[in-house]
Protein backbone atom coordinates (compact mmCIF):
# COMPACT_ATOMS: atom_id res chain seq x y z
CA UNK A 1 0.00 0.00 0.00
CA UNK A 2 1.34 3.40 -0.97
CA UNK A 3 1.48 5.74 1.98
CA UNK A 4 0.55 9.40 1.54
CA UNK A 5 0.18 12.58 3.48
CA UNK A 6 -3.16 14.20 2.67
CA UNK A 7 -4.80 17.20 4.32
CA UNK A 8 -8.28 17.93 3.04
CA UNK A 9 -10.32 21.09 3.23
CA UNK A 10 -12.95 21.24 5.98
CA UNK A 11 -15.92 18.88 5.36
CA UNK A 12 -13.93 16.65 2.99
CA UNK A 13 -12.59 13.26 4.01
CA UNK A 14 -8.81 13.03 3.59
CA UNK A 15 -9.04 9.24 3.29
CA UNK A 16 -11.35 9.24 0.27
CA UNK A 17 -11.26 12.65 -1.40
CA UNK A 18 -9.57 12.60 -4.82
CA UNK A 19 -10.30 16.07 -6.23
CA UNK A 20 -7.11 18.10 -5.66
CA UNK A 21 -9.24 21.24 -5.40
CA UNK A 22 -10.62 19.86 -2.16
CA UNK A 23 -7.22 19.13 -0.67
CA UNK A 24 -5.00 21.57 1.17
CA UNK A 25 -2.02 19.29 0.68
CA UNK A 26 -1.37 15.94 -0.94
CA UNK A 27 1.97 14.23 -1.25
CA UNK A 28 0.79 12.95 -4.64
CA UNK A 29 1.45 16.40 -6.11
CA UNK A 30 4.62 18.37 -6.48
CA UNK A 31 4.59 22.07 -5.68
CA UNK A 32 6.70 25.12 -6.37
CA UNK A 33 9.54 25.49 -3.92
CA UNK A 34 10.98 28.91 -3.36
CA UNK A 35 14.65 29.42 -3.93
CA UNK A 36 15.20 33.16 -3.92
CA UNK A 37 13.42 36.38 -4.72
CA UNK A 38 14.63 39.93 -5.14
CA UNK A 39 14.71 42.82 -7.55
CA UNK A 40 16.98 44.65 -9.92
CA UNK A 41 16.99 48.32 -10.88
CA UNK A 42 17.91 49.19 -14.45
CA UNK A 43 18.88 52.81 -15.10
CA UNK A 44 18.11 54.11 -18.58
CA UNK A 45 18.94 57.62 -19.67
CA UNK A 46 16.94 57.55 -22.89
CA UNK A 47 16.77 55.32 -25.93
CA UNK A 48 18.64 52.04 -25.98
CA UNK A 49 18.87 48.53 -24.67
CA UNK A 50 20.21 47.58 -21.27
CA UNK A 51 20.60 44.15 -19.76
CA UNK A 52 21.52 42.98 -16.31
CA UNK A 53 21.38 39.65 -14.54
CA UNK A 54 21.38 37.87 -11.23
CA UNK A 55 23.26 34.62 -10.67
CA UNK A 56 21.38 31.66 -9.26
CA UNK A 57 23.97 28.92 -9.98
CA UNK A 58 21.44 26.10 -9.62
CA UNK A 59 23.03 24.22 -12.50
CA UNK A 60 19.71 23.82 -14.29
CA UNK A 61 17.04 26.11 -15.72
CA UNK A 62 14.67 26.84 -12.82
CA UNK A 63 11.02 27.89 -12.79
CA UNK A 64 10.89 31.68 -12.60
CA UNK A 65 8.54 34.65 -12.80
CA UNK A 66 9.08 38.40 -12.91
CA UNK A 67 7.07 41.59 -12.52
CA UNK A 68 7.77 45.28 -13.03
CA UNK A 69 6.20 48.50 -11.90
CA UNK A 70 4.89 50.69 -14.68
CA UNK A 71 6.75 53.75 -13.57
CA UNK A 72 9.21 54.24 -10.74
CA UNK A 73 6.75 56.34 -8.74
CA UNK A 74 3.89 53.85 -9.08
CA UNK A 75 3.23 50.88 -6.86
CA UNK A 76 1.26 48.58 -9.17
CA UNK A 77 3.10 45.75 -10.87
CA UNK A 78 2.44 43.65 -13.96
CA UNK A 79 4.05 40.64 -15.60
CA UNK A 80 7.29 40.52 -17.54
CA UNK A 81 7.57 40.04 -20.56
CA UNK A 82 5.86 43.27 -21.50
CA UNK A 83 5.73 45.28 -24.71
CA UNK A 84 4.10 48.57 -25.52
CA UNK A 85 4.33 50.56 -28.73
CA UNK A 86 2.64 53.60 -30.20
CA UNK A 87 3.45 55.62 -33.31
CA UNK A 88 6.93 54.17 -33.60
CA UNK A 89 7.92 54.55 -29.97
CA UNK A 90 8.21 51.44 -27.87
CA UNK A 91 9.29 49.94 -24.59
CA UNK A 92 9.96 46.27 -23.94
CA UNK A 93 10.89 44.28 -20.86
CA UNK A 94 12.04 40.68 -20.97
CA UNK A 95 13.36 38.03 -18.63
CA UNK A 96 15.37 34.95 -19.60
CA UNK A 97 16.79 32.01 -17.70
CA UNK A 98 19.85 29.87 -18.20
CA UNK A 99 21.39 27.21 -16.00
CA UNK A 100 23.32 29.87 -14.08
CA UNK A 101 21.61 33.24 -14.44
CA UNK A 102 18.37 35.15 -14.78
CA UNK A 103 18.71 37.96 -17.33
CA UNK A 104 16.60 41.11 -17.50
CA UNK A 105 16.46 43.40 -20.52
CA UNK A 106 14.80 46.77 -20.98
CA UNK A 107 14.62 48.36 -24.42
CA UNK A 108 13.04 51.67 -25.22
CA UNK A 109 12.99 54.09 -28.08
CA UNK A 110 13.38 57.29 -26.12
CA UNK A 111 11.72 59.43 -23.51
CA UNK A 112 12.93 60.56 -20.15
CA UNK A 113 15.47 58.79 -17.98
CA UNK A 114 14.04 56.09 -15.77
CA UNK A 115 15.08 53.58 -13.17
CA UNK A 116 13.13 50.46 -14.00
CA UNK A 117 12.55 48.10 -11.10
CA UNK A 118 11.99 44.42 -11.94
CA UNK A 119 11.01 41.97 -9.20
CA UNK A 120 11.83 38.30 -9.67
CA UNK A 121 11.12 35.01 -7.97
CA UNK A 122 13.13 31.86 -8.67
CA UNK A 123 11.89 28.45 -7.60
CA UNK A 124 13.95 25.31 -7.10
CA UNK A 125 11.90 23.34 -9.63
CA UNK A 126 14.07 22.09 -12.47
CA UNK A 127 12.40 22.64 -15.83
CA UNK A 128 14.62 20.17 -17.61
CA UNK A 129 15.16 22.50 -20.55
Amino acid sequence: MTQKIVISKPTFDAKTETDPNNLIFSSDYDSLKYYVSGYVNIDMSGAGSIETYVTHDLGYVPFFIAFFNWMPHETDYTHVPFYTASFGSYKTLDVYATTTRLYFTVKKSGGSAITQKIVYKIFRNNMGL
Binding site: I24, Y29, S31, A85, A97
Partner: protein, 134 residues
Amino acid sequence: MVQKIVITKAGYEVLTESDKNNYIFHSDYNTLKIISEGVITAQTVTANPTTFTLEHGMSYIPAVMAFIKYPDGYVALPRGIPRDTTDTYLGVANSRYWEVEMDATYIYFICYKGTTANYNVDIKFYIFEAPSNY
Protein backbone atom coordinates in the same frame (compact mmCIF):
# COMPACT_ATOMS: atom_id res chain seq x y z
CA MET B 1 -10.29 22.92 19.63
CA VAL B 2 -9.42 23.12 15.94
CA GLN B 3 -6.27 21.20 15.15
CA LYS B 4 -3.77 22.43 12.60
CA ILE B 5 -0.52 21.38 11.03
CA VAL B 6 1.91 24.28 10.94
CA ILE B 7 5.58 24.35 9.99
CA THR B 8 7.39 27.67 10.34
CA LYS B 9 10.64 28.84 8.89
CA ALA B 10 13.70 28.62 11.09
CA GLY B 11 13.69 31.33 13.76
CA TYR B 12 9.90 31.64 14.01
CA GLU B 13 7.69 30.23 16.76
CA VAL B 14 5.14 27.83 15.35
CA LEU B 15 2.60 28.41 18.12
CA THR B 16 2.51 32.20 17.81
CA GLU B 17 3.63 33.18 14.32
CA SER B 18 0.90 34.92 12.32
CA ASP B 19 2.72 36.15 9.19
CA LYS B 20 1.89 33.73 6.37
CA ASN B 21 5.25 34.44 4.73
CA ASN B 22 6.97 32.83 7.68
CA TYR B 23 5.22 29.48 7.25
CA ILE B 24 6.73 26.60 5.31
CA PHE B 25 3.33 24.95 5.50
CA HIS B 26 0.03 25.77 7.17
CA SER B 27 -3.03 23.55 6.91
CA ASP B 28 -5.34 26.59 6.89
CA TYR B 29 -4.00 27.59 3.49
CA ASN B 30 -4.32 25.79 0.22
CA THR B 31 -1.13 24.92 -1.64
CA LEU B 32 -0.45 25.27 -5.35
CA LYS B 33 -0.36 21.71 -6.65
CA ILE B 34 1.33 20.68 -9.87
CA ILE B 35 -1.12 18.21 -11.36
CA SER B 36 0.97 17.47 -14.41
CA GLU B 37 4.10 18.66 -16.17
CA GLY B 38 6.08 17.79 -19.23
CA VAL B 39 8.47 18.84 -21.96
CA ILE B 40 7.77 19.00 -25.66
CA THR B 41 11.04 18.93 -27.56
CA ALA B 42 12.31 19.85 -31.01
CA GLN B 43 9.17 21.47 -32.36
CA THR B 44 9.67 23.40 -35.59
CA VAL B 45 7.99 26.75 -36.11
CA THR B 46 7.30 27.12 -39.82
CA ALA B 47 4.43 29.61 -40.06
CA ASN B 48 2.72 32.61 -38.45
CA PRO B 49 1.58 31.01 -36.29
CA THR B 50 2.54 27.41 -35.81
CA THR B 51 0.37 25.89 -33.07
CA PHE B 52 1.45 22.87 -31.05
CA THR B 53 -1.57 21.24 -29.39
CA LEU B 54 -1.52 19.11 -26.27
CA GLU B 55 -4.51 17.26 -24.81
CA HIS B 56 -4.33 17.98 -21.08
CA GLY B 57 -6.80 15.35 -19.86
CA MET B 58 -8.43 17.58 -17.23
CA SER B 59 -12.20 17.88 -16.99
CA TYR B 60 -11.95 21.67 -16.72
CA ILE B 61 -9.89 24.55 -18.06
CA PRO B 62 -6.67 24.22 -16.09
CA ALA B 63 -4.26 26.86 -14.89
CA VAL B 64 -1.15 26.53 -17.03
CA MET B 65 2.33 27.97 -16.89
CA ALA B 66 4.81 27.35 -19.68
CA PHE B 67 8.30 28.28 -20.79
CA ILE B 68 10.04 28.14 -24.15
CA LYS B 69 13.67 27.50 -25.02
CA TYR B 70 14.63 29.42 -28.13
CA PRO B 71 17.49 28.40 -30.44
CA ASP B 72 19.81 30.87 -28.67
CA GLY B 73 19.52 28.68 -25.55
CA TYR B 74 17.70 31.24 -23.38
CA VAL B 75 14.42 30.27 -21.74
CA ALA B 76 11.54 32.77 -21.92
CA LEU B 77 7.99 33.16 -20.66
CA PRO B 78 4.89 33.49 -22.89
CA ARG B 79 5.01 36.65 -25.02
CA GLY B 80 8.75 36.64 -24.58
CA ILE B 81 10.83 37.34 -27.64
CA PRO B 82 14.28 35.79 -28.13
CA ARG B 83 17.06 37.59 -26.32
CA ASP B 84 18.99 38.11 -29.55
CA THR B 85 16.13 40.07 -31.16
CA THR B 86 17.24 43.43 -32.56
CA ASP B 87 16.34 46.34 -30.32
CA THR B 88 14.19 48.31 -32.72
CA TYR B 89 10.43 48.51 -32.84
CA LEU B 90 10.45 46.90 -36.28
CA GLY B 91 12.72 44.18 -34.96
CA VAL B 92 10.36 43.47 -32.09
CA ALA B 93 7.28 43.58 -34.32
CA ASN B 94 8.79 41.10 -36.77
CA SER B 95 10.33 38.92 -34.13
CA ARG B 96 9.70 35.41 -32.98
CA TYR B 97 7.37 35.22 -29.99
CA TRP B 98 4.80 32.86 -28.55
CA GLU B 99 1.61 32.59 -26.54
CA VAL B 100 -0.18 29.93 -24.51
CA GLU B 101 -3.93 29.34 -24.56
CA MET B 102 -6.09 26.61 -23.11
CA ASP B 103 -9.64 25.34 -23.21
CA ALA B 104 -11.43 22.43 -21.57
CA THR B 105 -9.58 19.90 -23.72
CA TYR B 106 -6.31 21.28 -25.04
CA ILE B 107 -3.36 23.52 -24.33
CA TYR B 108 -2.23 25.50 -27.36
CA PHE B 109 1.36 26.65 -27.68
CA ILE B 110 1.16 29.28 -30.41
CA CYS B 111 4.52 30.23 -31.88
CA TYR B 112 5.27 32.99 -34.36
CA LYS B 113 8.32 33.39 -36.58
CA GLY B 114 7.73 36.97 -37.70
CA THR B 115 9.95 37.58 -40.66
CA THR B 116 12.65 35.22 -39.42
CA ALA B 117 13.59 31.74 -40.62
CA ASN B 118 12.01 28.52 -39.37
CA TYR B 119 13.30 27.54 -35.95
CA ASN B 120 13.11 24.79 -33.34
CA VAL B 121 11.90 25.18 -29.77
CA ASP B 122 11.54 23.12 -26.62
CA ILE B 123 8.54 23.86 -24.41
CA LYS B 124 8.09 23.09 -20.73
CA PHE B 125 4.57 23.17 -19.31
CA TYR B 126 3.02 22.89 -15.87
CA ILE B 127 -0.65 22.24 -15.15
CA PHE B 128 -1.77 23.46 -11.75
CA GLU B 129 -4.73 22.68 -9.61
CA ALA B 130 -7.37 25.27 -10.38
CA PRO B 131 -10.94 25.70 -9.24
CA SER B 132 -13.12 24.88 -12.23
CA ASN B 133 -15.14 28.05 -11.98
CA TYR B 134 -14.71 29.53 -15.44
